[in-house]
């Protein structure tokens, strides 16, 4: 457009700005039509099919027991994930420790808790107070006891469910955390050492914050997995979470399908919220790793020198961490 000279962000003219039509994308339109048609058929089928009994779904969607189930499912997920994450970080740091005893303990833990089914572990925690009736603090191998308590009061059904889920999850997360720690450039540790920082501080201030960026996507995956693993706590037995609650109603009124739809709705809703939280966390821990800031017109720094000196991510380690999450 010769009569109108465009200008860039700094006010410099771009005289021959190209304004061309985009490439025609017929394939996209065809695909969109096909997908829209299929989706319409699916929705039509779901709505008009009387066997889905949408009136029953609607009736029980906000049922008191269902909502209570949602609450317990969320509490179980959060508590066990928080405990699992703390344990996993400790296990991962132990695994990388210079102390062979700590390395061995960590290895054994992961071997054991990853090697047995979570269902079995939950049954075991449910039976804990039968196997070990009293917990006591004293001098080992003597009858001296300072303090003791009935197992039943400590390992309640709820606590057994949380412990079982958390200890199992920690084993998987520990491997994810370890891969994340190993993906951080070893130069970071050297630089921190050279500044006089001690190991624990280097881990806390330098390595972990950078590893978080790599750990979070597979951990989000694990959290969503955990949301649904909570339905296994009936093995303990703990019977107040969403899956069991909806199933109990279904058995009472002989309508399994509508109640499964109710449960699916809530699981999908929570998963969607988790995904939003995950992307927010990814943004937070991605600070400094994104592209240059936009809108800093006139102040843009020159392009970084294209040298091997740039901080580079260890792609293999990042992939390893991600795959551990998917396989878990």
């Amino acid at each position: 457009m010769p009569h109108h000279v465009e200008r860039d962000g700094e006010g410099l003219p771009i005289p021959n700005r190209i304004e061309a039509k985009p490439v025609k994308r017929t394939g996209q339109i065809v695909a969109a039509v096909i997908v829209a048609l299929l989706a319409a058929m699916l929705i039509h089928g779901l709505v008009t099919n009387p066997r889905f009994e949408w009136n029953v779904v609607w009736k029980y969607l906000f049922n008191e027991r269902v909502l209570e189930g949602v609450g317990y499912t969320l509490i179980l997920t959060f508590l066990s994930m928080i405990i699992a994450i703390i344990l996993a970080v400790i296990l991962a740091i132990m695994r990388k420790s210079a102390n062979p005893v700590l390395r061995g303990v960590s290895w054994f833990y992961i071997w054991f808790f990853r090697g047995t089914p979570v269902y079995t572990q939950l049954v075991f925690w449910g039976l804990f107070s039968v196997l070990i009736p009293r917990l006591s603090l004293g001098i080992p191998f003597t009858s001296v006891e300072f303090w003791s308590v009935d197992s039943q009061t400590v390992v309640t059904a709820f606590n057994a469910a949380v412990i079982g889920l958390a200890l199992n999850e920690a084993a998987y997360l520990a491997e994810i955390v370890r891969a994340g720690l190993e993906a951080v450039d070893p130069g970071q540790e050297e630089a921190a050492k050279a500044l006089g920082m001690k190991r624990s501080m280097i881990m806390r201030r330098v390595i972990l914050p950078q590893a978080m960026r790599i750990i979070i996507p597979p951990t989000g995956n694990e959290t969503i997995g955990m949301l649904k693993t909570t339905s296994l706590v009936l093995a303990v037995p703990f019977t107040l979470e969403l899956q069991y609650a909806t199933n109990a109603i279904a058995n009472r009124i002989y309508k399994p399908i509508p109640l499964l739809i109710v449960a699916s709705f809530w699981y999908l809703l929570i998963t969607s919220i988790f995904m939003v939280i995950q992307s927010m966390l990814e943004k937070h821990f991605g600070k400094g790793f994104e592209a240059r800031p936009v809108g800093t017109k006139g102040k843009q720094t020159p392009l970084p020198g294209k040298t091997e000196g740039e901080p580079q991510d260890d792609v293999n380690k990042t992939n390893e961490a991600a795959f551990l999450g998917y396989n878990a």
């Binding site: 450039d185 130069g187 970071q188 050297e190 630089a191 921190a192 050492k193 050279a194 500044l195 006089g196 920082m197 001690k198 190991r199 501080m201 201030r205 330098v206 914050p209 950078q210 960026r213 821990f285 600070k287 400094g288 790793f289 994104e290 240059r292 800031p293 720094t301 020159p302 392009l303 970084p304 020198g305 294209k306 040298t307 091997e308 000196g309 740039e310 901080p311």
Partner: protein
């Protein structure tokens, strides 16, 4: 031991005591014998440039001074204090614990080939990190110190950027400011310009030159012969794990050893 004390007693009065003294330093990685007896003295306020082909052990020697590697044999003293070990009353050596090693390291500033800035912190946070968390300096004070150090390397206007948004030369200058913020007595530079595009080397060398002018004790491993000739008080040429030739900056133009002459012909 006895020779050292007599040396100190007789020579201490005239010559200044060296800040770094390496005595018959050996380093082996398993079967690989990298350093085969290095002796070196660095006087306070001087610039020592270590030259040599890759694999000659010059970076390893620098890393030994800062205890990023552990000595296999010999001794390195910084300010007359043995690093990494202490001598027990019966004459045997004991390794220092982590706290003591961190204490010794905090007197030495180190700049790496790959900058190694903390990518998750802004430039200002990078420089403030060690004063706040190692020296427990109040944040406001550390902030002022960091701003001053960043201005010193000419980056007062880049404080709130992340390292990934800076050029290599700017990143390396931040790394220098970060080391200076700990008020080190000696600065160690491990090939500080080797990872930079050619047009960015000058800005880093200028900062190093002004540091030398201010009287900072520096040990520099580099391939920048021009910088060595201009700034160095002492040149050390290493090859194959030994010091082949050592002297003032004039030895660059008048090398005595064949190996040094060959090396200079290849890099100049």
């Amino acid at each position: 031991m006895t020779s050292q004390t007599t040396h100190a007693a007789t020579a201490g009065a005239q010559a200044p005591k060296p800040v770094v003294e390496a005595k018959d330093v050996h380093k082996a990685f398993g079967d690989l014998h990298v350093l085969k007896g290095i002796n070196l003295e660095v006087e306070p306020g001087t610039v020592t440039v270590i030259l040599g082909p890759s694999g000659s052990g010059k970076s390893t020697f620098l890393r030994l001074i800062n205890q990023l590697e552990t000595l296999t044999g010999g001794e390195i003293d910084v300010n007359g204090e043995m690093i990494g070990y202490k001598r027990l009353p019966d004459g045997t050596l004991q390794r220092l614990n982590e706290k003591e090693i961190a204490q010794q390291r905090s007197k030495l500033g180190m700049v790496f080939q790959k900058f190694n800035l903390f990518p998750h912190m802004t430039v200002l946070e990078n420089v403030m990190e060690a004063p706040v968390h190692v020296k427990h300096m109040p944040k406001a004070e550390a902030r002022e110190l960091a701003i001053a150090e960043l201005k010193r390397v000419g980056l007062g206007d880049r404080m709130d950027y992340y390292p990934g948004q800076l050029s290599g030369g700017q990143q390396q200058r931040v790394a220098i400011a970060r080391a200076l913020a700990m008020k080190p007595e000696i600065m160690l530079f491990d090939e500080p310009t080797s990872a930079l595009d050619p047009e960015l080397v000058g800005e880093v060398l200028n900062v190093m030159r002004s540091l030398a002018d201010e009287g900072m004790t520096m040990i520099v491993v580099t391939h920048e012969i021009g910088f060595a000739r201009e700034v160095a008080d002492q040149i050390v040429f290493m090859d194959g794990g030994v010091v082949v030739e050592q002297g003032g900056p004039e030895i660059i133009d008048h090398p005595r050893e064949v190996r040094f002459r060959d090396f200079l012909q290849h890099v100049l």
